[in-house]
């Protein structure tokens, strides 16, 4: 498909419109097994079991359970008899929430932006959008299927529809309890046309939604049978390992010892592609060994080291901004007339994703068609990557999306797909599994940007009258878009760089935020919670600095500034109760608090530490989340723990640095992780308000770093304005 849609010369005449509408609605049902589909998501088998198409990838956030829960609730079908399949890349499955960052109105036609997303189609799992996108729409999908089944039964029994009811996979005639299974009815039901959308169940009638239903994927994950991308095994396949250029932005122009490598045990071929040098072998180990032995002709393009990166970041903070993102009230006037001013400058490093499963993709090219097996957060991007890498028409690519051994925003990129496709093209008919070793994975990440921030507060009396906020970054989302989506975005227009810094809920007369884009050698991308991952550290550390200056308790001070935000206030009040904030802590224990809204949810966290000189024990974390309506409480709680540990690891140890234009860190020994012995006890409370659902995958991460550094300040008066803590000499016990 050439170019984009709007502005790409696409003629939206009547024929064109019909084509668009057809493509948006068309689904093939490939891979969903026997039986009859009632719509793009629900296929009923004669055995009276159901396969549900879940077009969102399972990376531990439970979507292979939570989305079927939404459908099953309305469909009236037992979850235990549901099988989940990731469908092909087709219009109905697009992530329409992402089109406008708004819930889709299921009663109206699609907006133009939504139509564009459905036409491409943009199928993406990310931005903590899955439930926000699916909550109404997937329930409607289940309800419509149920009504079609009831209509078919009513016709067969020659009764009115209201004489029937649906229950656990059967339509039952109320008068005499005779029943027909969905399996028996499906073929007839598929022909039924509904005149209007059926109403959805009220919350009080839910029997599945809101419960901690056990996850459908867990049994396979305790016996080794669950298949990740790296586990794909196809007869005749070969394994390929790539070595990227050692230097950022560098190139490899040749392999000096190619014949020696080709003669190494197990090696079947050597391929030099634009992105790196690749060994193809009969096992990953043979390929890995051979790749390590490459003598490469490399052209370095970068020589920057860490001191320079820091210098550039601080220099940019003093310069002219690229774009103003918030300008409420008159901040300069407020600052000029302030009784006092507080200023603080912060710096945060690049961070790696370090998914447990290194990047990989398996591709088989057969003439003008291809098959691809991989774990990826976007089947759209996978199709694009294979199409570009192997020159295959998008309609001739069959996708198999596996489980992901961690996503965190890294597996929504297509670098590994592109490389696998390029290599597979050179071995027609042979499935090629291209693998990044841990070292290649860590050195060729799309990192969370390195960021600096300057905060200035104007104090008037006992109040903060205004905040002036300046941030320097590289544009993470713009990077992802530029690489993967036909709609490009200028880095300064990337909203993610200032998200969580602008439009804060705290009452102030003036608030100003600007962004300066600084291009640096390392590639950047979306890291769990994206801009919030750094901006919450700035805003919640600074909020603490203000409350210290005013000599007001940090929890109490925040609550006092949230008069217009009852949901935020309620989260903090609950958090204070949960963490016993207002009680005296035992000797040797200190607490710090942070509150942050992201991806439609409000999260408050208190970190409780023990500190002995420079030895920190993070003993407990208290977490309160308001994510509106709850689909599966156990999944939400595990996601809060997950987000907290991810952010805590970064706060304690996380730092990706450069030396002479090369990334320094390459494996877990030099990129440390929180493990069992440094894991705090996390207590979570879910507010469970009857509001539209918010996201849950990312919101747990932003508050933990500032909650922790605020606790350290409470303990020893050391105000920490840069991370990781390990570089300030702290160790973790």
């Amino acid at each position: 498909m050439a170019g984009g849609i709007v502005g790409g010369g696409f003629a939206l005449g009547l024929g064109g419109l019909a084509y668009v509408n057809n493509k948006i609605k068309k689904y093939s049902g490939i891979g969903m097994g026997d039986g009859t589909s009632l719509n793009a998501w629900v296929r009923i088998h004669p055995s009276n079991s159901v396969t549900i198409a879940v077009a969102r990838t399972e990376m531990g956030q439970g979507v292979h359970t939570s989305l079927p829960m939404l459908i099953a609730e309305e469909l009236e079908f037992p979850l235990e008899k549901i099988n989940v399949v990731h469908p092909q890349n087709e219009g109905p499955y697009a992530n329409l929430f992402m089109a406008e960052n708004q819930p889709r109105d299921i009663q109206s036609n699609l907006t133009l932006q939504q139509k564009i997303f459905a036409f491409i189609p943009n199928i993406i799992t990310g931005g903590s959008t899955t439930i926000r996108d699916a909550y109404d729409q997937q329930r409607l999908v289940g309800a419509m299927a149920r009504e079609m089944l009831i209509s078919a039964a009513a016709k067969r029994w020659k009764v009115s529809r209201t004489s029937c009811r649906a229950e656990t996979g059967f339509v039952i005639l109320k008068s005499d309890n005779r029943r027909l299974s969905y399996g028996e009815l499906a073929e007839a039901a598929a022909k039924e046309k509904l005149l209007k959308n059926p109403p959805l169940k009220p919350k009080k009638s839910f029997s599945i939604i809101g419960k901690s239903i056990q996850r459908l994927d867990v049994p396979g994950k305790v016996n080794g049978s669950a298949e990740f991308g790296l586990d794909v095994r196809i007869p005749g396949m070969k394994f390929a390992v790539i070595r990227h250029p050692s230097s950022l932005g560098g190139t490899i122009s040749g392999i000096s010892n190619q014949s020696k490598i080709e003669a190494m045990p197990g090696v079947e071929g050597v391929v030099l592609i634009e992105e790196g040098a690749v060994v193809v072998a009969r096992t990953t180990w043979h390929a890995k060994n051979a790749a390590a032995a490459f003598e490469l002709k490399e052209e370095d393009r970068q020589s920057m080291g860490e001191t320079e990166v820091t210098k550039e970041l601080w220099k940019a903070l003093k310069g002219k901004s690229s774009k103003v993102w918030e300008d409420k009230g008159n901040i300069n006037q407020i600052l000029a007339s302030a009784d006092e001013r507080i200023t603080a400058e912060y710096e945060l490093p690049y961070l790696a994703h370090a998914c447990m499963e290194p990047m990989n993709c398996t591709v088989k090219v057969d003439g003008d068609s291809a098959e691809v097996w991989t774990g990826n957060q976007s089947s759209t991007f996978v199709v694009n990557g294979v199409s570009e890498g192997a020159g295959i028409d998008k309609d001739k690519i069959r996708i198999y999306i596996t489980y992901l051994g961690g996503g965190f925003g890294r597996r929504g990129e297509t670098d590994f797909v592109l490389r696998a496709a390029k290599v597979a093209k050179k071995f027609p008919g042979v499935p090629i599994q291209l693998v990044y070793t841990r070292e290649e994975d860590m050195r060729n990440d799309y990192y969370r940007p390195a960021v600096t921030c300057k905060m200035e507060a104007a104090i008037k009396g006992k109040e903060v009258a205004g905040w002036k906020k300046r941030v320097v970054s590289q544009g993470a989302l713009a990077g992802l878009f530029r690489r993967n989506i036909p709609m490009s975005m200028k880095p300064e227009d990337d909203p993610s760089s200032t998200e969580g810094l602008r439009d804060l809920p705290y009452s102030m007369s003036a608030a100003y935020t600007d962004l300066t884009i600084l291009e640096l050698p390392a590639q950047v991308g979306t890291w769990r919670s994206v801009g919030h991952s750094h901006n919450a550290f700035f805003s919640e550390s600074f909020m603490d600095e203000c409350s210290v200056q005013l000599a007001i308790d940090p929890m109490k001070y925040r609550i006092s500034l949230l008069k217009d935000h009852p949901r935020h206030r309620a989260v903090l009040e609950k958090l204070a109760e949960l963490s016993h904030w207002n009680d005296d802590l035992p000797e040797g224990k200190w607490q710090g608090v942070a509150l942050h809204e992201s991806f439609g949810s409000i999260v408050g966290e208190v970190a409780e530490i023990e500190l002995d000189d420079k030895a920190i024990k993070v003993k407990r974390v208290y977490c309160v989340i308001d994510c509106g309506r709850v689909v599966n409480p156990a999944i939400i709680e595990s996601q809060m723990q997950s987000g907290i540990v991810y952010g805590l690891t970064a706060a304690l140890y996380g730092e990706i640095t450069m030396k002479k234009g090369r990334i320094v860190q390459n494996n877990f020994p030099n990129y440390k992780m929180v493990r069992m012995n440094t894991m705090p006890l996390i207590t979570t409370h879910i507010m469970d308000l009857d509001e539209y659902p918010g996201g849950v995958g990312e919101p747990g991460t932003p508050p933990i770093a500032p909650a922790l550094t605020n606790a350290i300040f409470a303990a020893n008066g050391h105000r920490i304005r840069s991370l990781p803590l390990s570089k300030h000499g702290y160790r973790f016990v």
């Binding site: 956030q61 056990q214 996850r215 016996n223 990740f228 009969r282 447990m356 841990r438 069992m676």
Partner: protein, 156 residues
Amino acid sequence: MVLKINGKQYTVEVEPTMPLLWVLRDVLNMTGTKYGCGVASCGACTVHIDGVATRTCVLPVAAVEGKEITTIEGLGSESVRSAVQQAWIDHQVPQCGYCQSGMIMAVESLLMTNPNPDDEAIDQSITNICRCGTYQRVRAAIKTAAKRLQADTVNS
């Protein structure tokens, strides 16, 4: 070379220096044991060698010839899960699940030598990395499995 894995014999033609991890994954297609780091730092590659939890990504296959190798696929059976596996389901431990084979193998081995581990013993023995942060549920599931195994021992 003949390897004894999960009670069966497998004949493989591989270099003696090939790490057991890759023999399992790429030669025998037993992909339950995972590759996470290749330097024995993360524990995703953990199996049992004569009942002892051992990382396999740098363990040459020649070193395990003649020994009893147990992988995640060899725990429990088709119809009956091990106590640890059942506890893992009851506590809904896994998230992405990639580290869990290695984690479970480490835990199984711990419980064989220390049937009632306290928190300190758990901290010291279970050093696997979990990027999804399931440690709290791992700890709870270990305690549940330990209790159940002890009850079985008492009852039998």
